[in-house]
């Protein structure tokens, strides 16, 4: 397992303003606070480098929050430190999540020059009233310009995020967004279903989802999107992720294939050294511990001995490639038996068109992905572990 190349995740917990649906750990911060955080993150990179000795990284991912809110020089400093302290592949995928409204056109060249070779842009919708309803700070025009400028600056791998189930979204408006998305020919598409999260303004604004597209409509939106992207040459990597052939996200694959990843920053999760752990979502605590050199004492141990067989099942079932007999056999000595039990349990659902099952793999169809939790629960119950 440790022979698999690893991913490094850098969490940047800042946003210019908080989107009304978002429950991720992020907030608006002053320039001083950002600088202070960058130093802390650099300390973290250095502090964890000892644990990463012997690990080969083929992906670095700056996520958030809005990493593009950091100045180029700060991002440069972080990348420089990473390269200095970690073994990073020459061909590593180095991704920056960016909000199209936050990057001045002049910055793209610099970002590409310092080593970023993949962009993930939060387009969400091509309909500006929908963007406003979400509380996004950008228009579709800005996304389109950002894509154009980034390509001109040399980015050849650009992913766009699309949101499904936006207040006011209709079949027709989704079609508009999908066509507009296609016109930007992204290499990768993430299509997420809006989920009401407790504590967000949306949660209070749309009690129990009233005022949002119905569950039925959301399901339709999702299936329409899957079909549209498939028709246009995108491969479904995972429930919410689609890529042109050869442009699958190296970093996302870490999560679904149980490859190791190290996440640095408040709220960042890791599966590293055989254990799952996370930093608490508290920037102040993170910054202070980084200064004091006590970051490891901050860690929340989430799982010291992860049940790899179970993880394999529910993570692999998220992917287009599905759960394979081989993957389960790698995760557990009785993986063969488990695979057969799962295949049996899901067989009735395959008949309903929710899954495709052959002797070597179980794959969910788009309709099955919509019921992924229920199907995974069946699979987990069937594999006979508690």
């Amino acid at each position: 397992m440790s022979s698999k190349p690893a991913g490094l995740y850098m969490h940047i917990p800042f946003c210019q303003s908080k989107c009304a649906y978002c429950d991720f750990y992020s907030y608006a911060a002053s320039e001083t606070a950002k600088k202070e955080y960058v130093s802390a993150l650099i300390s973290a990179v250095i502090a964890f480098s000892a644990q990463a000795i012997g690990t080969f990284f083929d992906s670095i991912y700056f996520g958030g929050g809005t990493p593009s809110l950091l100045e180029n020089e700060d991002l440069q400093a972080l990348l420089y430190t990473i390269h200095a302290y970690y073994e990073v592949s020459e061909e590593a995928e180095i991704t920056l999540e960016a909000n199209p409204g936050t990057v001045a056109e002049v910055r793209w060249e610099g970002l590409h020059a310092m080593g970023f070779n993949r962009l993930s842009l939060g387009m969400q919708s091509a309909v500006d009233t929908e963007l406003a309803a979400l509380g996004r700070i950008h228009t579709f025009g800005e996304t389109a310009r950002a894509v154009q400028k980034a390509r001109a600056a040399g980015f050849s791998n650009i992913g766009l995020d699309l949101m499904l189930g936006i207040p006011g979204q209709t079949k027709e408006s989704l079609k508009v967004s999908l066509e507009a998305l296609l016109s930007l020919s992204p290499d990768h598409v993430s299509a997420y279903l809006l989920k009401l999260e407790e504590g967000t303004p949306f949660y209070a604004r749309y009690p129990e989802g009233k005022g949002l597209p119905s569950e039925e409509e959301q399901a339709e939106f999702y299936l329409t999107t899957c079909e549209f992207l498939a028709d246009n040459g995108y491969i479904q990597e995972e429930i919410s992720n689609f890529a042109k052939p050869g442009k699958e996200s190296v970093h996302n694959q870490k999560y679904w294939t149980l490859a190791p990843y190290l996440g640095l920053g408040p709220g960042a999760h890791s599966d590293f050294g055989g254990r799952r752990f996370a930093f608490p979502a508290d920037t102040k605590a993170f910054t202070e511990a980084a200064k004091a050199g006590t970051l490891t004492s901050l860690l929340i141990m989430e799982d010291e001995a992860p049940n790899r067989a179970e993880e394999t099942v529910f993570l692999a079932l998220r992917t287009g490639a599905g759960l394979t007999r081989k993957a389960l056999l790698n995760a557990a000595p009785n993986g063969n038996l488990m695979f057969d039990k799962i295949a049996d349990a899901l067989a009735p659902y395959a008949k309903q068109g929710l899954a495709r099952i052959d002797g070597e793999s179980v794959r969910l169809t788009p309709a099955g992905f919509l019921l992924a939790n229920a199907l995974m629960t069946e699979a987990l119950l069937a594999m006979g572990q508690n």
Binding site: Y192, K195, Q218, A219, I239, H269, S270, R276, E302
Partner: protein, 601 residues
């Protein structure tokens, strides 16, 4: 031998919530003769602690010593009566052990159906009634009205009834004075053959069954060999004594008129039936005391562990409960839907609820119970007659010549404003109107003959909701009547769920079927496919609802590497699914089985 003239045996008769146990505590406290305030608190604290730990079983009789204003010291035996309608037989036996009863009436609420029923029971047993008006501290208290009610409704003089507040400890000594003055002392011949009435028996894991009794004739001594006249079993008395508020006072002999307990290494309460007469094996009485009646369960229900693995625990708990409550019966049964469980018989619906609650609370069991059923009688075409207490055993309609169902006489007491609502309810429940009496301006008594099977389905709840909680109910079995009954089956996804079948009057089949499919629709979560819910008589579908297929159940959001969150969610879903019953391909939560038991909302 004790001086009989200084003994008083009495019960307290009250409607639930009218303050019976508070008054009992006050009487005990007043007789405890613990002068020091701190000591008194200590005493009560001790009782509390013992109750909490459950190390003493609750005594059904308490022996008290009271020195009256006339300077004479009396021995008082306060005999507790079970608190509700299902136990009228047990109540009658407890009352038989007394010469008098304190009738507690709530000064604000007046007389209720249960008070009335138990008062009549006490009068039938020849008891002297001592009326007491309680809760005079309440703002709504109207003691004069309550007294007038006692005089008008029961016909007892009540002008000098003590007006008390048990809660606030007001005028408690008045009650004690009335008891010694008005209730006659017991009579009895110490040399006659022994006749003692069992009015309670409870199981104690150290001493075996502890039998509580009242001696009418003769003398009982430690070492005597005694015989239970109805059951026929014989035992040697090992320990004999009186039950005190705290602990016991063992003695070597007890004479007529006294109340006490004995142990005899008895393993099972079934050997010491309430109402049975104890006599000496060597010199038996010619006639037992009158009124013994074997226990006859009237309501049956399937009781299943929510988790099949808990079956041995359920069996164990039922056996332990049965040690203390011989009035419920159980035997193993199995259901396709629910697996292995027990068919349990109860005295009535409340008794059923009490047993189920004890199983869940005291034995920490998670249960699924099936719709309660009464005992039907069926004449078959081949001339046989069978009794049916389980819908699964209902005969094929083609073989039925005639079915019969049990009827009860129901007495409902309510403020007149609700008589319309209540009569409507009784009519809906196939009641047969007998009559209505205005007890006074504020209270009416409604009498109906009703099928018991209409009462066991949430009738109490419906009665309460239609009378804003004011109406009270009492009922007694009056016999069987011919009836047109059908068995209603419920199908999920085309398959009959045996645990949901029930027997119903043909006129009620359609509305019941509608309600049950609607209730199930509310409680069965959406599955990955459409689930038809149908109700059928024979092969004929008479009601249908559909649980639409689940459309979306997915975490399609960028959680990045937070696998733990996904795992927790699935773990929760997995546990939820495990708690459900898989009926064919359909997962049904426990609540669905319970929800179908409630019809009137």
């Amino acid at each position: 031998m004790a001086d009989l003239s200084k003994i008083r045996n009495f019960s307290i008769v009250a409607h639930i919530d009218h303050g019976k146990s508070t008054l009992a505590d006050r009487l005990i406290q007043a007789c405890a003769a613990v002068p020091d305030r701190e000591m008194e608190d200590q005493l009560l604290d001790n009782m509390e602690l013992e109750r909490e730990r459950g190390i003493t079983i609750k005594a059904r009789a308490v022996n008290l010593t009271y020195t009256a204003q006339n300077g004479v010291t009396y021995e008082l035996n306060l005999i507790d009566t079970p608190g509700h309608v299902d136990f009228s037989y047990e109540v009658s036996r407890s009352l038989r052990a007394c010469e008098g009863a304190v009738l507690v009436v709530d000064a604000s609420q007046g007389i209720e159906a249960q008070t009335l029923a138990n008062t009549y029971l006490a009068l039938d047993n020849g008891l002297e009634i001592v009326p007491v008006i309680n809760k005079i501290d309440l703002p709504a208290a109207d003691p004069e009205r309550a007294k007038k009610e006692i005089e008008d409704i029961i016909g007892l003089p009540a002008e000098d009834a003590p007006c008390i507040s048990a809660k606030m400890n007001i005028n408690i000594p008045d009650v004690l004075e009335k008891i010694v003055r008005d209730i006659p002392p017991p009579k009895g011949d110490p040399d006659a053959p022994l006749r003692a009435l069992i009015f309670d028996s409870q199981y104690d894991s150290y001493r075996g069954v502890i039998v509580t009794f009242r001696i009418f004739d003769g003398t009982l001594r430690v070492g005597d060999t005694i015989r239970m006249m109805a059951i026929g079993t014989e035992f040697e008395v090992l320990e004999l004594g009186k039950l005190l508020p705290l602990g016991t006072a063992p003695c070597s002999e007890l004479g007529p008129g006294t109340v006490g307990y004995f142990t005899a290494g008895i393993k099972n309460v079934r050997d010491t039936a309430v109402g049975d007469t104890i006599t000496h094996a060597s010199r038996p009485a010619e006639e037992p005391l009158p009124g013994y009646r074997p226990v006859q369960p009237m309501v049956f229900s399937g009781v299943y562990p929510a988790d099949g693995a808990d079956l041995p625990d359920l069996r164990d708990a039922l056996e332990k409960l049965h040690l203390n409550d011989a009035s419920f019966v159980f035997e193993p049964e199995s259901s396709v839907a629910l697996g292995f469980g027990f068919r349990c018989g109860f005295l009535g619906l409340l008794h059923m609820e009490i047993v189920q609650e004890r199983l869940e609370r005291e034995y920490n069991l998670d249960l699924i119970t099936t719709a309660p059923s009464v005992v039907y009688k069926v004449d078959l075409t081949d001339g046989q007659t069978v009794t049916v207490d389980n819908p699964l055993h209902y005969p094929n309609p083609a073989n039925i010549a005639q079915s019969y169902e049990p009827f009860v006489k129901a007495t409902i007491i309510t403020p007149p404003a609700f008589t319309g609502n209540i009569m409507e309810l009784c009519q809906e429940r196939r009641g047969e109107y007998i009559g209505m009496n205005y007890l006074d301006g504020d209270r009416a008594e409604i009498l109906y003959n009703m099928p018991l099977n209409e009462i066991i389905y949430d009738f109490f709840d419906a009665l309460k909701s239609r009378s804003k909680g004011y109406a009270s109910l009492d009922y007694e079995l009056i016999g069987y009547r011919p009836s047109k009954l059908v068995k209603l089956d419920v199908l999920l996804n085309g398959e009959v769920v045996d645990a949901l079948s029930f027997i119903v009057h043909v006129d009620k089949a359609y509305p019941r079927a509608r309600r049950i499919v609607e209730k199930l629709k509310e409680h069965i979560p959406r599955q990955m496919f459409e689930v038809p819910i149908q109700a059928a008589i024979g092969g004929k579908i008479i009601a249908r609802e559909t649980v639409r297929a689940l459309r979306k159940d997915v975490l399609a959001k960028c959680y990045g590497g937070d696998i733990t969150r996904k795992k927790k969610l699935l773990e929760k879903q997995k546990e939820g699914k495990k708690r459900m019953r898989n009926l064919g391909s359909v997962s049904v939560p426990q609540e669905a089985f319970m929800a179908v038991l409630k019809f009137d909302e």
